[in-house]
Amino acid sequence: MKALRWSYLGAFALASVPSLASADEPFIWAKNRVDEVIVKPVSARERGGSFSRGRPPPRQSRIRITQASESRDTSNRAFVSFAIDVRWGGSEWNKDDVVGCVYRESGKVFVKIGDGYRPAAILLGKDVEPVAGVCVAAPPPARS
């Protein structure tokens, strides 16, 4: 009977592991920031709908953090890279619809357009120029 009680307790503990894991999901701050700066405002802008030749708004989108640990740029600022995948109707996920990086301290988000990174505000129509040196990891210090 005691063994059964322990097995129930064990099962309960195991069942609660996934919820604990999601709460501790790495870079949840980064996902929240990308959601707040890009996904929500862009989808609100697209939801207005228009009779234009523009791409129809995706039905679903998801944010992925594409690196296992933080990187630091040449100014020693910590950032992580992300990608946004989108999906229309029953089709497959379109991976890397938007790629970019988000900075931990400042919360600034940049997106890759061509070869450069521009502030995420460009996705909302703000005419901003590429910013040099962001989202690029500094090379590891040379060993002496």
Binding site: F51, R55, P56, G89
Partner: protein, 231 residues
């Protein structure tokens, strides 16, 4: 009464085009907000010649907003019965189409999303518009109204692609089709269909002639040897 019913599809088409024009005009307002980049441009970035592309987009949209309603009005019997007014409005429309709409459309076509196939579709549509506009103007100058009407129907049919293509895109999106494939279908379908619809009477005549051909066949075909002559 019968004539009124016979003209009903044409009138309905003009009304639909007018409604489509209203929707396009309201959606195009963002192109003239010089403080922000239009959403249609953002999804195309990076562009090689950003300023030229944006200038062409604005010129194209502005000329379309002028010429599309003028085309609708010029297709009405009301204006066709008033030759002086028809001529003046026709000249304004023709100049704007040939000098602004078609060239700016060609610049935009070269950067069309969907690649070479979509570029080819836009360029074909532009070539039909430009070619038939020149033909129609020349025909009007020599008072050949049959050719003029036929040419201008082609111009208007291709202009109507702006509406039919957008409607088709919305429908295909509702069916869950991937936007890239939907964009190609929604362009080529209306471009080809519009040209065919204008040529329908001609095609009908050709088919009727072909079907009637065996009955009209002359008794002596030039491929049959004459009797009594060596074959």
């Amino acid at each position: 009464m019968r004539r009124w019913i016979a003209n009903l599809p044409g009138r309905l088409f003009l009304l639909l085009m007018l409604g489509g024009f209203g929707l396009i005009a309201s959606a195009s307002l963002e192109y003239f907000d010089f403080g922000t980049l239009p959403g249609f441009m953002i999804e195309k970035l990076p562009l090689r010649f950003e300023s030229l592309w944006l200038f062409s987009l604005r010129a194209h949209v502005a000329s379309a907003l002028l010429t599309f309603p003028l085309c609708i009005v010029l297709m009405t019997r009301f204006l066709q019965r008033r030759p002086a007014l028809h001529r003046v409005l026709g000249r304004i429309t023709g100049i704007a189409i040939l000098l602004v709409l078609v060239p700016s459309g060609a610049v935009l076509a070269l950067n069309a999303k969907g690649g070479a196939l979509v570029s080819a579709g836009f360029l074909l549509s532009g070539a039909i518009v430009g070619g038939f506009m020149v033909r129609g103007v020349l025909a009007a100058r020599r008072r050949d109204l049959v050719t003029h009407r036929h040419a201008m129907r082609h111009v208007f049919a291709q202009m109507s692609v702006a509406v039919s293509s957008r409607v088709l895109m919305i429908l295909l999106d509702r069916f869950g089709m991937h936007p890239e494939l939907a964009y190609v279908i929604a362009l080529w379908g209306p471009v080809v269909a519009s040209a065919l619809v204008v040529e329908l009477p001609t095609l009908h005549r050709v088919v009727v002639r072909l079907l009637a051909a065996p009955h009209r066949r002359p008794a002596l075909s030039r491929f049959e040897p004459l009797k009594g002559t060596p074959s």
